[in-house]
Amino acid sequence: MAPRARFFAVWIVCFALLAAAAAGVLLAVYDALAPDEQRRFSGVLAAAGNTLIVLGVILFIIGGFLAAGLERAFLAPVRRLAESTRLIAAGNPSYRADAEGPAEVREAAAAVNALAERHETLTLGIEEQIRHAHAELGDETNRLAALMSELASGVVVCTVEGRILLYNEHARQMFSGVGVPGYIGLGRSLFSLLDRQLVVHALDQLRYRLAQGEPRPVSVFLASPVPALLLRVRMAPVMATASGQPEKREPSGFVLLMDDVGAEVALFEQRDHVLEQLIQSARASLASIRMAAENLESFPQMGPERQAQFAAIISVEAHRLTAHLEGATREHSDLVRSLWSPEQMRAADLVAVARRRIEEHLGLATATGEIDELLWVSADSYSLAQALCYVVRRARDELAARDVRFHVTASGRHARIDVQWEGERVPGPSALAWESQPLTSAGEASPLTLREDLGRHRAEAWCESDAGTGGRFRLLLPVTEPVRAFHAPAQPSRPEFYDFDLFSQPGLERDLDERKLTELAYTAFDTETTGLEPAAGDEIISIGAVRMLNGRLLAGEVFDQLVDPRRPISAASARIHGISPGMVAGQPTLEQVLPMFHQFCEDTVLVGHNAAFDMRFLQLKESATGVRFTQPVLDTLLLSAVLHRDLGEHQLEAIAARFGVSVTGRHTALGDAMVTGEIFLRMIPLLAERGIVTLRQAREASERTFHARIRY
């Protein structure tokens, strides 16, 4: 029974007792009187009966008003004070109780506020210490994060059940391509991304090899989740932290290192094809040539016509063979070109590599002049060193070059690498045939010419005569940023991807309803619509959602999608959410978006603010899309009413203010979903104080509150 109702019940009982006492006194007086006096007394009572009843009713009403005033003045402020105190203790230490009601309650509120002040100061102090401790831990984590984000491979760490514990940006990009069946995310199943059988088989192999005593086994397999993606996956076990049983080596999880080898494999296939074709055509031509030659040799008595025929065959097939060889060489050099992967390096280091090479291959000592140490270039150091070596060889052979000296200087947006020598003058500026010939030096040959090598570096080079007695080869290479630019760091460099706590997560087999609120995975979501009447044909135009796990909002794992409603958007709605018809034109329809959203929130509890409204929209689409949202739903509006019945409004802004959650992006689906999620996370400890710990308890408490009766 609500406290207010209980108070009035007490008042009614008191009034009834008073009335009974008055009746008892009258009866006692009546009893003590003589018979004629009793008759007179009865007559007086009968005459004044109506007046007495009216008086009684008036007394009852006045008493009721007094009691209500007393309740409002004394009891309600005490209850509000209690709720405020709870909120301060468990949710928002900066919250303060209102000083209201009689002096005693105001005094109590002031005392509570003073205590809150002290509590807040202490909390901040402790938080500061925790922050400090975390900062140190954070440094470690950051180093790990930096290492992972710099890895060229996709990295995913999972539990043995295939739940994802951590992943890097590369892995996210790999699996966010068109057609990849699932979503990557903390706590999600790896098996929506990779074939379960394949992973389980590899894991079994790891277990077997661990049992055989292999210290660090690695399984390698190829996986192709979609035709466009061919992954080479290396799997290594993550061992459980040793808890007394070193002899029992059972992995608690595994690390997957994944490389997209599709392009590489295609290139190798192409190269094999070139080689195969060359072998076949060469064999055929050689067969013709050999037979014709041997015929000429073995049968000298053949007629002149025959002889001419075989001679012609030899000539034609020799030409064909040459053409095949040239074609294959061309194709091969194209392939080598596409296989190239430049590295970012200092121009000075490139020169050092080239000098070592010249010394080794040509036996020629070189020197350096002016060297700018700060210039970075993007270069295939092997082929460029080969090119510089080649140039020096030709200068030595053709121009009697000696005293070779390297300079590295800045020239606009280029690094200028000069190879300078003493010797003969260069015959005319850039007049050398060096560029068009393959890069050969000291018995080593590349399929590329100098021109081709320069072309793929977007570089230019030429030879010119020095003012003195020699010449120089000048190479201009575009400079790059010194720090390697990561491909698409759209995400902030780390936060949510790192969550080793999950190793101790319970499996999913325990009955969901009895699980603790702190253990569940959630999707906080919100929709924007064309209007407020789902039954009258209003449609969803935007869905925003964010995942929550382990008491944290995973800001990197969001769903944010506009939807083409294929009907007008009411002006009133457009004013609220600011979505115009132009913005939704050409967006996918709800029939396309709902399956994606369904997959996004799979295996999680849905959390919404006034979720009945959003769920009604989703429910109306069930038959059209075949997508059903059957998971449990929690509503922050209802939970707020459970927690703070006496603290007034339960609108999103009001609750956010109460919990100290800052509101950004209000009335965008994603913005509201994020606020809802933050609020929900802060509600969990307050609910626990009221004994609401499991999902079932939260659902039941929600149902009991008044707002649960709202139906759209």
Binding site: I279, R283, A287, S288, I289, M291, S298
Partner: protein
């Protein structure tokens, strides 16, 4: 009566030499330039031996070999397969499908003639 040889080969310059060689050892010969021609000629020309290229258009040498071996009227024909690939696996396959000999291009005319003569029992 002279022996008959069917030359199944699509490279004209090789055909020229093979025809010349067959005439030199006194064989009658006919030429087919694709797999289907080769099978038809095998049924009509009744050769004692086939020089069968693996990479024939329309029907590969393997298919022709298999059809010949599966046909009671033709299966006594000796088959020498000629290939420009020369992988070991391919040689194994050719012999498994019933070829009597397998020669990789480019080959010595002497080797070819010796094999032809051996298979024709001369």
């Amino acid at each position: 009566m002279s022996k008959r040889v069917l030359i199944a080969e699509d490279e004209p310059n090789i055909v020229t030499s093979l025809e010349f060689l067959m005439s030199q050892i006194g064989c009658e010969f006919q030429t087919a330039v694709n797999g289907e021609d080769a099978l038809r000629a095998a049924a009509e020309f009744h050769p004692d031996l086939m020089l069968l290229d693996v990479m024939l258009p329309l029907k590969s040498g393997f298919e022709v070999c298999q059809s010949v071996r599966g046909n009671d009227a033709l299966k006594r024909i000796k088959i020498i397969m000629l290939t420009a690939k020369g992988r070991e696996t391919e040689v194994a396959k050719g012999l498994a499908l019933g070829a009597d000999a397998y020669i990789t291009k480019p080959f010595a005319t002497r080797e070819l003639l010796d094999t032809v003569k051996r298979l024709l029992g001369e």
